[in-house]
């Protein structure tokens, strides 16, 4: 029990900024969360919410003259931000791995599948090619690649999208990492293939005890996979809670809007309730709440507080944090009036 409760990854006050010709882009603003071993944390948000950038930053994949990453990221106790790039590189692909949305552009087109995976093993382990190949073959069989011997000699373009994503998953798990970051792993896939891949990820997580950060915009995938959820908007976490609370007792108007925007497969809802307006520009973030310009409930708060003062991400119950000026009673009333979440 103690091992599963152990925090593997701890992110504290993470900021990512990019200097561009148009001004400073604040891609991630003060993001903090903990991830326990073997658990899945989903980061949900729309394009430009900072969900991908934040994860790339903690893997040390945001670099360059124009990027500035600050804050603290502890992976198994080791601070990663500002650490020696070589020590982070040793972790990457070994103890922490990442899979991307588009498996075609994340596999090298000129090298055979087998060779790419063998390389992934040999970079981190001092074993000969024969032994590495045995390990690769076992992993590819585990992720459900048929005719493995033949497939290992093929190039990425010879595989279907679903097969390529299986290869990517195999490659990321080959060194049995403790942390897997999956950035929209099924967005490019058809639903029937998506169902296969999600099932595979769940099985492998159980088998290897991998902790997963799942980045997605699909609330259906979140409901299926996540233990905990962080909702991001305009570079900040606006709500953070266990998965059932996000869906049944959501506390932040943006989360409400997100849930009301999706057409449900299980029932025909006559009219969708979209969030008016567009997501904010990350160059000139509003000084108050980032969601205030699109929020339908800011009048309830009074004194134009939402426009002037950015709310803190504060706990509203034991495990549930929300970044909003609304009071508990106001939230309850709105949820009841608008039939948001599960009604008691």
């Amino acid at each position: 029990m103690s091992e599963t409760d152990e925090v593997l990854l701890s992110v504290r006050n993470l900021y990512v900024e990019f200097a561009t010709d148009d001004g400073l882009v604040s891609a991630v603003n003060d993001l903090s969360y903990d991830l326990k071993r073997g658990k899945t944390l989903a980061i949900v948000g729309e394009s430009g919410s900072g969900k991908s950038v934040s994860s790339m930053a903690l893997m040390g994949l945001v670099a360059g003259m124009n990027a500035k990453v600050s804050g603290e990221v502890y992976f198994d106790g080791q601070q990663l931000i500002g650490a020696d790039p070589e020590s982070v590189r040793k972790l990457r692909g070994d103890r922490m791995a990442m899979i991307f949305q588009d498996p075609l552009s994340s596999l090298h087109p000129f090298f055979r599948i087998g060779d790419q995976l063998v390389e992934a093993v040999q970079v981190h382990h001092d074993i000969d090619k024969k032994q590495a190949q045995v390990r690769v073959k076992a992993m590819l069989e585990r992720v459900g690649i048929p005719d493995v011997d033949q497939r290992m000699n093929e190039y990425p373009h010879q595989l279907s999208g679903g097969m390529r994503q299986r290869v990517m998953i195999g490659m990321s798990l080959i060194n049995n990492p403790e942390l897997l970051i999956a950035d929209e792993p099924t967005t490019a896939l058809d639903v029937t293939v998506q169902a296969q891949i999600l099932e595979l990820l769940k099985d492998l997580q159980k088998e290897f005890g991998t902790a997963i950060i799942l980045i997605t915009h699909d609330l259906g995938v979140v409901a299926d996979m996540a233990d905990e959820v962080v909702v991001m908007y305009g570079g900040s976490a606006v709500e953070h809670a266990p998965v059932r609370e996000i869906f049944y007792e959501p506390a932040m108007p943006y989360t409400w809007g997100l849930i009301a925007s999706i057409p449900q497969i299980s029932a025909k809802n006559a009219h969708l309730d979209p969030i008016p307006g567009n997501p904010p520009s990350l160059i000139n973030l509003p000084s108050g709440c980032v969601f205030a310009p699109r929020c339908a409930f800011k009048q309830l708060v009074g004194d134009d507080l939402c426009e002037h003062e950015r709310p803190q991400l504060s706990l509203i119950s034991l495990e549930h944090a929300s970044r909003c000026h609304l009071t508990e009673n106001q939230r309850t009333d709105i949820r009841r009036a608008r039939l948001i979440g599960r009604q008691k």
Binding site: V191, F247, P263, Q264, K268, H271, D273
Partner: protein, 345 residues
């Protein structure tokens, strides 16, 4: 009930793309059977959803019914006129009545034309002079789709994805067509914006009585907007039904699997339901399996399915399925109350 005739009637539509080999002396060595004999009807003011996974031929079907792609064979009747027989010139004239909205609002708008130019193009191409002048007509259209008419002289790159899709919609409704083919109109947009566009499409349909053929891969979106839904797989229609019926009582194993593969945004529901997970991938449309095209992934397939292609047949009122062994338990529940016949004890 009066008999309404369909505005669009497609019969046995086939669209094959030839595969050629050789340099100078090109030979046709095969064909990608993108659309392989589909029949469908669309009635005035209704929405027909066309769903399926990538490569099933839904987009090709959408384009071919407007003759943006020349069909290989089959017939397309638009308001009783066979579209395949009309000359190019007549076709241009008929395009007034049928328009298209594209998936990608970035590549479907000319980046060097202003919004005003883009939306007034249909009037100019068709030589239509709107009452009150072009400028005010375009302004009205912009207002109707939720754009600020003052942005008349702006370029597409100054707009967000959702706003660009609004420009595409304004262009499509400019001449008040009777039919619009919407090819994945919201799949490039974020969810909060997607809902805005879906609501706009629904309002416009109500106001102008336009019929939509709504091509999409997202079954939740299709259910939301469609009156009837046709499910495609490898160039063929597997099942077609009024949308409520299709989602609650699917008869084809493929429809059933497709519906069960969609994750439901409700953790308790999602984690406690039974899910059919299909094995394998979509076969190549250049070499579809013999018999039923779905037999390679179907858990119910028998010898008959591998040899004999099932025809699309009507099981109950408006509910058609192409399967030798449609989902049994569901058939029974339907056959208890046959439609249109009195029950004789």
């Amino acid at each position: 009930m009066t008999q309404v005739s369909p505005i669009l009637k497609v019969s046995n539509l086939v669209k094959h793309f030839p595969i050629t080999s050789g340099g100078i002396f090109q030979r046709t060595t095969g064909a990608v059977k993108a659309v392989d004999g589909i029949s469908l009807e669309v009635f005035p003011g209704e929405t027909l959803g066309l769903v399926g996974e990538s490569g099933c031929g839904k987009s090709t079907a959408g384009r071919t019914v407007l003759r943006l792609l020349e069909p290989t064979s089959g017939s397309i009747e638009f308001e009783g006129q066979n579209l395949i027989k009309v000359s190019k010139r007549e076709l241009v004239f008929m395009r007034r009545e049928m328009q298209m909205i594209f998936q990608d609002p970035y590549s479907s708008l000319n980046p060097r034309a202003t919004v005003g130019d883009i939306i007034s193009a249909p009037f100019q191409v068709q030589g239509v002079k709107p009452v009150g002048g072009l400028r005010s007509a375009v302004g009205d259209l912009m207002e109707r789709v939720g754009l600020n008419p003052e942005h008349f002289n702006r370029y597409p790159n100054e707009f967000s994805g959702g706003q660009r899709q609004r420009i595409g919609i304004a262009r499509a409704i400019a001449l008040q067509p009777k039919l619009i083919v919407c090819d994945e109109p919201v799949s490039a947009l974020d969810v909060s914006i997607q809902a805005q566009i879906l609501n706009l499409l629904a309002e416009i349909q109500k106001d102008f009585g336009i019929a939509y053929v709504f091509v999409a891969h997202d079954l939740s979106v299709v259910r939301h907007i469609s009156d009837r839904v046709a499910v495609m797989y490898l160039g063929q229609i597997m099942e077609s039904a009024p949308s409520e019926l299709l989602y609650t009582e699917p008869l084809h194993p493929y429809t059933h699997a497709l519906l069960s593969a969609i994750p439901i945004p409700d953790p308790d529901l999602e984690r406690n339901r039974e899910r059919i997970i299909l094995s394998g991938d979509l076969p190549s449309p250049s070499n579809p399996p013999a018999g039923c095209v779905f037999n390679t992934r179907c858990w119910k397939a028998e010898d008959k399915c591998r040899s004999e292609r099932p025809v699309l047949r009507e099981i109950s009122m408006g509910h058609q399925v192409a399967c030798h062994f449609p989902e049994q338990n569901l058939i029974e529940t339907i056959s208890v109350a046959p439609t249109g016949t009195d029950f004789i004890a």
